[in-house]
């Protein structure tokens, strides 16, 4: 199948105040096929948000050094002109942010905020604007659409606000939706609701999605493939079922072990959870070698000095680790 979005060897560095560079993404490559959901799993500092904004070229070019390619319909978004990007953002590729309460205008009715997205992308006919706004809100709120459209953000719950952001994101029928932790600020019941909305949209609109999260359980039964980021590098990329059930990279394994299980008996007294030693943000960026090496319990001599590169475990599953080199 053809990739609609192709990321090749993407590296992004932020220029720090002293002039030094902080590398947030390092050689990330993957493709997104149409209708596919790729889940990106990473903890804070792993570069997942940098990846989300890089896909839309949403950073100040003077403070960021980016290399590689983000190819969308044959065009490299990293090299596109600002006006070309404006035509693509929100129309062909849209982004859903983490915090719905700060992403909405506080004193504008939310229906109007959805309508403005359509207007910004060239729809000018009033009846057409009204019709499409209603249609999009109905897709998310059903019979309540009309009442919702008149509300201000503060009158809505977190879940309802998140639905408005989703409405804005899908209004122009984009080819790709990038969602950066869209459920992080919601309670589990609402989180479930929003995931349900995404599942439905995926079915009805055939959306391709990049779903960024730090919670692996959210990807189960939703994502087709999972990509695990650690310190700006892809450490594992594979089919969701395989990667979530039997992860291969020592980091992915350790991350999953650190989450308390729901279904095991709890009457055995308090045990400690298996943790990953040390703090990710405290390890200095290794000049070479595997970024997870200082915290890895299976580290070998070679991990300190050499970049593991990628090992293909199967046609679809790859892992960046020397443990699998001779398989």
């Amino acid at each position: 199948m053809e990739s609609i979005l192709e990321v090749r060897d993407l590296s992004v560095s932020y220029r720090l105040r002293g002039g030094d560079l902080h590398r947030a993404l390092d050689g990330v490559s993957f493709g997104l096929e149409s209708g596919e959901v790729v889940g990106i799993l990473g903890e804070s500092g792993s570069g997942k948000t940098t990846l989300a904004v890089a896909l839309l070229g949403l950073f100040r070019r003077d403070s960021v050094v980016a290399s590689g390619n983000v190819l969308f319909q044959g065009k490299d978004l990293l090299k596109a002109e600002p006006n070309e990007l404006r035509g693509i953002r929100g129309k062909s590729i849209s982004l859903i942010f983490q915090e719905p309460s700060v992403a909405l205008h506080p004193t504008m009715r939310v229906g109007q905020q959805v309508r403005r997205v359509l207007a910004a992308h060239g729809m000018s006919d009033r009846t057409e604007l009204d019709r499409r706004t209603r249609e999009v809100l109905e897709a998310l709120f059903g019979e309540e659409a009309e009442r919702m459209a008149r509300a201000y953000p503060h009158q809505l719950s977190g879940g309802q606000r998140q639905r408005i952001l989703i409405a804005q994101a899908i209004a122009c029928e984009p080819a790709v939706v990038v969602a950066d932790e869209p459920t992080a600020s919601l309670d589990p019941t609402t989180q479930m609701e929003i995931l349900h909305v995404f599942r439905g949209l995926r079915k009805t609109l055939g959306l391709a999605m990049i779903f960024i999260t730090h919670n692996p359980a959210l990807l189960s039964g939703f994502a087709d493939r999972v990509m695990v980021l650690y310190a700006g590098k892809v450490v594992e990329l594979g089919p969701a079922t395989e990667t979530l059930v039997s992860p291969k990279h020592p980091y992915t394994q350790a991350l999953f072990r650190s989450i308390p299980p729901l279904d095991e008996p709890h009457d055995a007294g308090k045990r400690s959870l298996p943790t990953i030693p040390r703090d990710a943000n405290l390890s200095p960026w290794p000049p070479c070698g595997c970024p997870f090496e200082p915290r890895c319990r299976e580290r070998m001599e070679i991990c300190k000095s050499d970049d593991p590169g990628f090992v293909n475990l199967s046609e679809t599953h790859m892992v960046s680790c020397f443990l699998y080199e001779n398989q």
Binding site: P188, Q191, M192, H214, R257, I259, K270, I276, A280
Partner: protein, 277 residues
Amino acid sequence: MNTSTDDRNMPPLLEVENLVKTYSRKQFAGPREEVRALASVSFSIFRGTTLALVGESGSGKSTLALCLACLEKPTSGLIRFEGSDLLRLGERDLRAIRPKVQMIFQDPASSFNPRWKVLEILAEPLAFEGTRGRDEMRSRAHVLLQQTGLSSDLGEKLPIELSGGQRQRLAIARALMLDPELLILDEALSALDCSVQAQIANLLVELQSARGLTYLFITHDMAMAAHLADEIAVMSKGRMVEKGLPDKVLKQPENEITRELLAAVPRMDRSGPRAES
């Protein structure tokens, strides 16, 4: 805790009876309306144990926490802490109780003065108490830094220079400066990454067994609640609808609300990674 069986013969550390808190809310150009944040809540926590409080946003969990920490005045009801009735104590007597109940919030970044160094942050609760000297303060701060897994050379750093996990450790260290009995943890792990949550959860377990602390652990996370708690209480619309041992609540929930909360927990087939570990 397993040791809690012995403590059960003693009176509970905290007893709450028929606690009610109503807020009156004025709608813009509308009538004043009463919102019942807590509608008659009763429970008790024994010394050295953990009660986890779960429920949807708006179910009254945080209001309950604020009432217990004497930061909100309940409309009616009774809070008995170590035998004294908190709602009938005068401000002077309350001042003696307050240090024993400490709160830790979700976002440690916003609960520190950003311009204060770590040592100043730790010293503040003692200054409020006003009885200890500078040297004692310093040595106590260093002991707590160590006990919460922070290196003592962090003393001169600002909160912004710490990682999320370090900040939450600092929040715990600050709460422990006054030797509290009860720690109220309001979503204290929710803003942290999974791997950091595990570290802080382990720290909480260690501190509890070392100091005999009592925890009220407020969370959305059913799995973490079950992992840390001796009992889980489920709240909905200002009421405690179910309370019991974690395995009981998780495996044979009696209330519909509990069943709904459990159904909403995202699950992953974990047989693979667990079997390998």
